[in-house]
Every structure is written in C-alpha cells, then in structure tokens.
C-alpha cells in the first residue's frame, strides 16, 4: 500500500479521527488508526469500540489501483509525526512489509510498526429504522443547551449520555444527572414514522459537538435500536453504539404550573451568582435565594462564617420565599442561555426550579433545590 499527501490535507482529518482513540489500551489494535486507500481516496478510521469516526480525503496524485490497501498504525504516534512536520511538507506513506510502515517527508524518515487491517473492529451495520436530515447549526444548539447536564460515570448508566426523543411533531434532546435536567426541543416532522427514543453515550456527544459546525449545511442521521450514525459531510461520519436503557420520564419532572415567576437579566444574574459563589462552601456550593416584591437577594456562607450578599432588581410580584441551590447547577444552566432575559419559575422551597429563556418554550432547565 502506498500514497502521497500534503501535511495540510492530512492534519485535520487525522486529528478528528484520532480523538476517539484512547491512548491507554489493553487491546493494542484499539490504539491504532485504520488507514485505507481505494479509488484514489484515503479513508481514516478511529474507534474505541463504542464510538467510531471515519473521514475520507481524496488523493491528488494518481497512484494506480495496485497501490490500494489497508493497514493500521499507532494513532498517537502517526498523528504526532504528521503534526510535527513543517507546514508545506509532502508525505509519502509506504507499507514495506507485513509489519512495517515507512513515512517519508523531505529528509525525515519514520518507520512505524503496524497491525493487519482485518483485525480492526469493523463498523456497525445499521439497518436504519429511522433516518432524517438536520442542519448542523440546529443540532449544535440542541447539544450545547443540554450536554452539560449529562452524568459522568453514574451507576445509572442510562444517565451517562444525552437522550434524543423523536416525537411526532418535535425532536426533544434531554440530559440529566439526577440533580438537574436540561431539555431543548426543535420542531421536527416525523412524517408518520414510529416515534423513537435513543440515548447517545457521553463520549459520542462530546466528539459530535466538537465536529459540528455553525452552518446551515445539512447532516444525515440514521439509526436502529443499537446504533446511531451521523454523516456530517460527505467526508466525515460518526457512528456510535447506543446506551441500552430507558431514560427517566423527563416530562414528569418538569414543574407543573409554577406560580412564582421571576424575570431577570441573564448576565446580571450570572455575575451576581459568580460573586456569591466565592463565599459558598468551596466543595458543596450552596447559595440561597430570598424573593420579595421585585427583589431577589442571593446569599452564601462558608464554614469559616464568611458571607456574601447580592441584591438584584427583578420582576416579581409573588409571595416572599426562600430557597437554596447548588450554585454550580445554576451557573451551568445560565451559561448556555442565549437570550438576554431569563425566567425563573418557582413553586415553593421544596420544589424544583424551572429556568427558561424569556418568552421561549423550547429550552427548559430544571434544578432541584438544596436544603441548607
């Protein structure tokens, strides 16, 4: 197998692919990247046996079909070599024998060990039960507004990801770690197909949101019961296993008829919370809201008995009340709010808080209170 390519053309595709590969591996081949050449096209594939990223690059120089082939090489080393080469470098990739690949560029020469391509985990076959198109920008926004609430290494494995719920008239994207929840919806026409709910694992979500662009380009999603495949462009594809489990009933945890409504400037509230959090318990981050007519007081106190107090002008005409929260959860939610003003919907001291952008229904953040 042989091909030639410029450093510039190779760097970005390789970077995208290598990011899925864990450098510490018990199975050596999983630390490798799959390199294939066919019909003057280079195809790079990286996987951690759960998430797979696949990228193709057209090759300029016609090298003839007798140079086609497939091989795997150590991903991290290959990428580091390519990255360290000078800007305009021209790279020659040549498989010398069964277990040796030589990379040449100008006066540099690298010889890498390799493993046969047949042993590389094959991409999942998807018997698509549902497939549709979506804009890059739309998916990017949906994920940005929800992914922060995913759990990390929770024993309730179904929380370690983001749930995509395909409903008849909309797509709901939702994540929760059991303490707070983030929900974003997008109008969507299922066109008579069966509704479907899937949970995409954390790692795939993180890779995906890194690869999404802020553009109106269309991407294609297809899935079956166990896999999801997202074709980001004609060159870039991400496929992932799905988490096998049922996501909690998130509609059920949304507060019903909250009657104490506070409207305030997003930025101001965020800044006040950031300042207050300095003097909350550095590990457990409790702060307290006290609501009165058009006024909100945010206080915190740490074990050293130091105190912070912030007064905030808000729109509020409900009864006076006090409630405590983990300030990190509030800040996480506010950070992804895109509107200038937000609305906080309270019920009472022991019930969850709903945060929404003002006058918008498609983003909902729910946070459980803390008793301080």
């Amino acid at each position: 197998m042989y091909f030639e390519i410029t450093r510039k053309e190779l760097t970005n595709p390789l970077k995208a692919v290598v990011s899925t590969i864990e450098s510490k591996q018990t199975l050596p081949i999983l630390a490798n990247v799959l390199v294939e050449v066919e019909n003057n096209t280079l195809r790079l594939t990286g996987t951690d046996a759960e998430v797979e990223i696949n990228c193709t690059v057209p090759l300029e120089a016609s090298i003839g079909s007798d140079n086609d082939g497939a091989i795997t090489v150590p991903a991290k080393k290959f990428f580091d070599i390519v990255r360290a080469l000078p800007d305009g470098a021209h790279i020659q990739f040549n498989q010398e024998d069964e277990n040796r690949v030589v990379i040449k560029s100008g006066k540099s020469r690298f010889s890498l060990s390799c493993l046969p391509a047949e042993d590389y985990p094959s991409s999942p076959e998807i018997n698509s039960t549902l497939s549709f198109n979506l804009m890059h920008r739309a998916l990017k926004d949906l994920l940005a507004q929800t992914q922060y609430a995913m759990a990390t290494n929770d024993v309730r494995y179904y929380l370690n990801g983001v749930c995509f719920d395909f409903l008849e008239d909309k797509l709901a994207v939702v994540a929760t770690d059991g303490h707070r929840l983030a929900l974003a919806t997008e109008a969507f026409d299922l066109a008579g197909k069966e509704t479907m709910q899937v949970i995409v694992p954390r790692k795939a979500i993180i890779e995906l949101s890194r690869m999404l662009e802020n553009s109106d380009d269309s991407l294609e999603i297809s899935m079956d019961a166990n896999h999801i495949k997202i074709v980001l462009s004609d060159r870039l594809t991400l496929a992932s296993k799905l988490i096998d489990g049922s996501f909690p009933d998130y509609w059920g945890v949304l507060p019903v008829n909250p009657n104490r409504i506070v409207t305030t400037q997003t930025g101001e509230l965020k800044q006040a919370l950031t300042r207050t959090s300095i003097l909350s318990n550095e590990k457990f981050k409790g702060i307290r809201f006290a609501l009165s007519l058009n006024n909100m007081v945010i206080t915190s106190r740490n074990p050293e008995q130091e105190e912070a107090e912030e007064n905030l002008m808000v729109e509020y005409n409900g009864e006076e009340m006090e409630i405590g929260f983990n300030v990190t959860y509030l800040l996480d939610a506010l950070s992804v709010m895109t509107t200038k003003e937000v609305t906080l919907h309270f019920i009472d001291t022991n019930s969850s808080l709903l945060i929404t952008p003002k006058d918008l229904e498609d983003v909902k953040m729910v946070i459980m209170p803390m008793r301080l």
């Binding site: 024993v155 074990p303 301080l372």
Partner: protein
Amino acid sequence: MPYAIRNSHIQHLPTLVANQIAAGEVVERPASVVKELLENSLDAGATEVEIEIEKGGINLIRVRDNGCGIRVNELALALNRHTTSKIKCIEDLESLSSLGFRGEALASIAAVARLTLISHFHEANTGYTLQINDIQEMSEPVPIASPVGTCIEVHELFYNTPARRRFLRTPQTEFNHIQETVKKLALSCFNVGFSLKHNRKVLTSLPPATTESLQQQRIAKLCGQEFLEHTLDVHEDREALQLHGWISMPTYSRSQANMQYFFLNGRFIRDKLINHAVRQAYRDVLYRDRHACYVLYLTLDPKLVDVNVHPTKHEVRFAESEQVHHFIVATLQRHLATTMPKTEENTQPQSIVATEPEKITKNTESTLPSLTYHIQPKPTRSAVQETLQTYQTLAAPNSSKITVPQVSNAFESEKTENFTEKITVPQVSNAFESEKTENFTEAIMPPLGYALGQLLGIYILAENKKGLVLVDMHAAHERITYEQLKVVWQTKKNNDVQQLLVPETLSLNDQEIATAKQYETFFKRLGFKFDFSDKKHLLILEVPNVLQKTNIGTLVQDVLADLIYLGVSDRIEEQILTKLASIACHRSVRANHQLNLAEMNNLLRQMEHTERSNQCNHGRPTWIQLTQKELDALFMRGK
C-alpha cells in the same frame, strides 16, 4: 430414607450417650475443660488456683483451688447433669453473679474422660475423694488427706470418643489454647493467684494483684510490657454502666485482632456489637487494616444482659444494645481524642482538655524565650542549605522581618500573634550552654518545643525538653484540617440536603424495606428521605449534599444490612468522614512547601491543641521524638 431408620423405634438415649452428645458442645478441646474447671474454682471463692497440665492436657489436667469445697454427701451429685449450687430458680439467672450456672460442666467432662474429684469442704474435718471409672460408675467417697478446697483431675480426655481425639492438635497447640484460657481468666480476676504448670514445669505464676501496680505487672506479664507502655487508661463511670481498662494507642496496633479482651461483668466475651463499637471508636486513627489491642471491663446490671445464649457463654445479648454500643464508642473516642502532644505523661482526658490551653497561653506570655541555636550547616542537599539560609536570616536579631504566619483558620489569631512576637527575639548563641538551655526549656517549653528548620521539604525539626522532635508536616497539617472540618460538620445540626430530580430506585426485600421504615428518623437525621409507596422498591428522594458523587444506592443497602444484623450502623458517618478526610488532604500543605519558622511553630502549637494529632487521618504517626539519650547512643557519648 434409609431402611434402618424407617424401621427403628423411638426410644430414650442411654444417659452416657446423651452426656457425650452434650459434652460435644461444652468440651471441645482440653482448653474447654480448663475453662470449666477454673470457672468452678473462681465461683467457689478461691484465691489461689494451681493448674497442672501434662501433654497439652490430653494426658492430665489437674486444677486445685482453695475455695469452699464440696460437702461429702454432694460429691456424687455434683457429677450429675443439671446439678449446681449457683442458681436455684430461673429468676436467679437474671441477677447472675457466678460464671457458671448450667450445671453440666462436670457431667460433660466425666462423660468423655476419667475423672477424679478430691474435695475438702471448708466446714468439714477431712477431705474425700471420688472416682468415675470406665463404665461410668462412681466409686464411694473415700476419706483422704487434703487441704480445704477442691482438686479435680481429668485423665485421658476423649478416651471414649475417638472422633474427638482425632481432631486434637499437637500437645503444644492444645497447651497454647489452655494458656490463652488461663490468660483470659487471669485478666478477669486480679484478686486470684494463678499458677500454670506444663509437664511439671511452672510456666506462669501470677500472685494475687490487689494494688494497681500489681495489676499492671500482671497485664505486662500476660500481654507484654510493650502493650502496657502504649496504652491509655480508660475509666468511665455512669450510673448504669461502667467501663474501665486499657486500650492501645493508635500507633501501637497489631495485624491480627488477637489481643482483644473484653470482659462483661467479669466474664470474657466475644461479641460482634462490642467489636463493632471498638472499631468505630478507632475509625480514623488506625492505620489501614490494623487492629487495636485492649483489655476492657464493662460492668452493668446483670438484669440487662442475657448470657444464656450459648453453652460456652462467649456470646451475650444486651437489653439495650444501642445504648451499650454508644457508651463504648463515646468513651473510647473521648480517650483516644487525648492522643496529642502533651507536656506530662498524663492520660486523663479531663485534665488535659481543661488545663492545656491555659498553660500554654500563660507560658508564652510569662517568659521571654532565649532560643539557643546550634547551626553547623553541613549541607548535603541544596534544599537543606536553602532552608537553613532562610532560617538564618529569619533568626537574625532584627526579627522585624518575620511576619505573622497566615495560616488560615488559626486557632486564635491573637494568641498566635503574641506568641510570634515573643519568639522572634531570640539570642542567637552557641549551643552546649546546657544550663541555659535547661532553664529555658523547663520554664516554658511546650510539648513539641520550637522549630529548628525544615528537612527535605517534608519534615519539621524541632527541639523540646527531651531532645529532637521530627514532625511529618503534611500528616500533621492534614489531621489539624480534618479535625477542624469535623468540628464544623458536627456542630451543624442538619446535613445540607440535595433533593433528587430523578430518585434513586433500590429494589429491596421485605425485611430491608421494613428496616428502612423502622429507622426512617435515623436516616432523616443524616439527610436521607425515602418514599415507600412501592412495596418492592425504595425510592431515595433526598441525599446529604456531602455524599454527592458517591454510590448512594450501595451505601443505603449496606447500612440496612448493618441495621438488620447489628441494630446500629455508622457507615454514613464513615462515608462523610472519608469525604472530609479527602478534602482535608487536599487542603493541607504538601511536601516541598517551604515554611518559615513562625509558620512551623504555629503548626506545632496547633498540633498541641488538636485532638488525635499524634496520628494522621490514616493512622500514621505525625511526629516522633528522638531523646537526647537516643541521640547520645548514636554517637557513643557517655559510654
């Protein structure tokens, strides 16, 4: 069902067979015989007991006492099953003061060995002897010359139960068990003298120990001098409960839980509730899987405890187990809290807590210390040199440079300030002016003395009255921070609680659900809220904030298991304390953190004020003393 059983009739077992079966429970090995006989002697009011063993007790066990003896007409009766003088009716069991009461020891022994009984009743003129022969027939009592008291000889144990005999170990092993038995009884009865012979050699001889020093001698003989040197005296007297004895300092521990002696009303017991209580008390001071050593005596109203659980009486049941558990934990914890640097070898907790802080304040204010330094920089590593240089500039007479240490959360910043002001007027003079040094040390030297410098970025060197003190800076600071966090946590009435958006669901069995319900207030106090609406599942609605990111489900399940098994559980507190300990660890100064003298001295003073500061959160020692004597020995001075 085998044919033979299907066709056999129900009938009474012959007495011998019944006795042999019963003996299986009581007489397990020679040591059990010794235990039963010794308990009889002690119940008879003996003040001297002689035990003679031959071939590990397999050939001969002879126990001779000077107790009240047995009346001649009762000799034969004593060997029958269910005959005893210790109780008369079942009510007596409730206020039992003797060790035995079941009335089956002698009968059981007689069923599996050849037994000779010699007894001289204290009101009679002469002693009598009686034997049981092979076919379990008793001879008539024959007069014999004997001192007042009883002597029982057990020959050829298990001669008629070959199965048991096969399971006996080597004579030496069996003798070791006997020795352990004697040890337990000797620890419980200080007023009785014991002597133990094996193969005609006296191995242990313990005179009656009536005074405290004699008692300590006995402890040293039985548990080792080293144990005695590393113990804390425990003495706690409440109306219903009294606990006294000795417990090991956390830095003196064993890899096996074999030096643990707990006596309940004079009876040795091995009880899971007690074990749990002791482990809990030693929770954050013991190194890894080490075990504490203790000799403890608990006295309580016999009515509140049931010893009739098992024939060997090692297990007991408490009427108010939770209260007993709490009492033991609280008492031991209070005594363990005193493991901090002290001026005198005073282990009475009350006096320490009350006087120590005052003493130190007064001292620092009353005298101007004239620190004597002996600087002979002999740097082997650059780090040391640097430290010494810093130190030299700091110790220079124009001490205005020294700033008040900014140790966060200092005890009382005022005091610290006073202290540093005073300490920063040292006269740098040559060492070996021993007179001056001594004056100075006697007058005001705090237990850990004053810092000399930092070694390898890890240790603080300090000088006190006895010599050199080496402090592991991180370990010490870790303990100080941890204790402060603990105080904050404990003074807070309720844990901060995080409500859950998605409740954690546990599938539990009926017993576990019932237990969770029963202990609902216990869980609530710690910050848990449950929902019982589902019969098979427990929903956790609220969790203590500290325990975020821990596996709550497993924790609750473990706690329920504890509650079912023991009736108490400290797992939640344990988890919380572990969390606090890890916070403390991250907040503490690390190796290679350069400290100036004032900071080091402040750390030493904080250690003197912090409970349990002799060991870090993980049970490692925080400081050691190298006395002048030890140092002299290294240099062969004065030899």
